[in-house]
């Protein structure tokens, strides 16, 4: 099953199971979403439950909040992560805080799906990775799936979670395939996945970097370096235990994501690891992420900005250089 199909399947399965689940987003109906993720859902569930919206990122998230407070389970699609910048007031000041400000009277079971990711030259406003912002906000849960099975199982759990969940998908992962069980198996939020076992160094990676880390690990293997790869999958709440355990085993860590390195998710992971695995670390935690620039249009520049397998490999070797 493709990553794209996995997301679609989770949505369809949830909608079949529960009348209260419905979708709102730009061009998600007849067109099936600008990434084709919602294809077929309009035909199966109709215009009431698969709602094409105006270009109103504030209002559609806000409408999702309101419907969620009435006990429905809306899934809102923000076409590109870059446009989360428009929804942020509703997400951060409203969705994340209604339960708290009401002293526990309200629940906001809203899921916001969005996608981003560079590598196809869309330019500076269509491929940013902004998950770090949401991790900073109490009241939100944040998910970033790197595989079809994870996307399917985590999206289901996100929809049925009683809190607002921001669900990040990655543009370049939509076509990737993997065998999945016939029946959808929910994956609990807050549990990391050890993607590859290894003994020399732990690479904590998200989204596309999981795959780039795998490529790097193969090369490292050739040089006799055994790389363990852990995908947190849920960035909030963060499964610190699994991450720390792995690093205590390998004594070396690399954090890799496509987002800008500075103030990216890797900073939080590094801060946690240096605190909780201080005595185990044999080398500084290396961070791999986008260089400090907006995303350029010209492919040569864009590729230079975003982290490649070679960057992960270099970081891995750097952690091993000292011992």
């Amino acid at each position: 099953m493709q990553y794209r199909e996995a997301v679609n399947d989770a949505l369809a399965t949830a909608m079949r199971a529960d009348e209260d689940v419905f979708l709102m987003g730009e061009d998600i109906a007849e067109m099936g979403g600008s990434m084709g993720v919602t294809q077929g859902l309009f035909e199966e569930f109709g215009a009431e439950r698969v709602r094409n919206t105006p270009i109103s990122e504030m209002a559609i998230v806000g409408a999702g909040i309101g419907a969620a407070m009435q006990g429905m389970r809306p899934v809102v699609e923000i076409m590109y992560e870059d446009f989360l910048t428009l929804s942020l007031e509703q997400i951060v000041n409203q969705a994340a805080k209604h339960r708290y400000m009401s002293g526990g009277q309200l629940k906001v079971p809203l899921t916001i799906r969005t996608q981003g990711g560079a590598g196809w030259s869309p330019g500076a406003q269509h491929a940013q990775q902004l998950e770090a912002w949401l991790i900073h906000v109490p009241g939100l849960k944040v998910v970033f799936a790197s595989s079809p099975a994870d996307a399917r199982g985590l999206l289901w759990s996100s929809i049925y979670d009683d809190n607002p969940v921001i669900f990040f998908e990655h543009r370049l992962l939509y076509p990737i395939k993997e065998d999945v069980p016939e029946k959808l198996e929910p994956i609990p939020l807050g549990k990391a996945r050890v993607v590859r076992e290894g003994t020399d160094v732990t690479v904590i990676a998200t989204g596309p970097l999981v795959h780039r880390a795998l490529a790097a690990a193969e090369e490292a293997e050739a040089d006799g370096i055994s790389v363990e790869i852990v995908d947190p999958r849920t960035l909030q709440p963060l499964d610190e235990e699994t991450l720390v355990e792995s690093v205590k085993k390998t004594s070396r860590a690399v954090v890799a994501h496509e987002a800008v390195t500075r103030m990216g998710f890797g900073a939080e992971v590094a801060a946690v690891l240096q605190e909780k695995a201080f005595d185990w670390l044999d080398a500084p935690i290396e961070r791999v992420g986008a260089k400090f620039a907006p995303l350029a249009f010209a492919p040569a520049m864009e590729q230079f900005i975003i982290p490649q397998p070679a960057d992960v490999l270099a970081a891995v070797k750097k952690t091993l250089a000292r011992s």
């Binding site: 105006p54 990122e57 504030m58 806000g62 409408a63 409203q94 009401s102 002293g103 309200l106």
Partner: protein, 323 residues
Amino acid sequence: MAKVEKKRSLSEERLRDFLREMLLIRRFEEKVEERYRAGDLPGFLHVAIGQEAAEVGVCAAMDDGDVFGSTHRAHGHTLARGTHPNALMAELYGKLEGCSHGYGGSMHLYDVERGNLGANAVVGGGIPSLVGAGLAFKLRDEPRVAVAFFGDGATNTGTFHESLNLAQLWKTKTLFVCENNEWAESTPGWQHSPVWDDMSKRALAYDMHAIKVDGQDVERVYAAASEALDHVRSGGGPVFLDLETYRMHGHYIGDAQVYRSKEDRDEAAERDPIVRLREKLELSSEDWEALEEEVHEIVEAAVEFAKNGTDPQPEDALKNVYA
């Protein structure tokens, strides 16, 4: 039946109920000003003295099951929709017995049981969720209405625009109530909105049905709100209710109003909705004294209740972050 009754001119008895409610709100907020100045109340507060007719007229026209969201100036709506003065005062004192259990405060009043989905401190920020609630009512075919209260200043926000646009497009069961009190903090209408002298023009951009009425005349407000609610409830689409009202006091308690002319403030007397209603009802001074007495006791009792309320424990701060 209820609706028919609403259309007819109101019985004197009903008008006396309105007067009692308006006076209760007035004396409650005067007490709040007093207690705040005395240093009893934390945070910062906004009273709506002068806007009681707008608050009571609309709230009295709402049915059980209707929901609403308000603003930083929400004491009146909260009381008028049935929250006990004790619970409201306790919230202002930051007690667990408060309507938001001490988590919200004056700008975040909730009482979900009575349809209060939250007062919002972000201007415009609360509006979209009422579109979502109105959407849920429509999808579930419920005879309920979601009422969004906001001020003239809020009509300048993008959130307002996207919300009305979406509501009209989808014919959600939402009533938009603009309390045009001629000020946005220190900024007079003419300085913040090109249509400040006729806010109902905002509705033209959406082909939305609009009703404009003198917000200082509780009878007219009640009649207009009843008509609007019927329209929305029966699936006729959202309505924009433009209430011309007046802020008699400062923007917040303690506001020196350096920006406001004496003349402007002197208007207060003539435009006081309580004076107007009292005169219309030709209340004898005995009846008036009795009313004052009754209200006075309620307010004093509320203060007593609040003062004797329970302070949250520091650690309670970590509760209610997630469902």
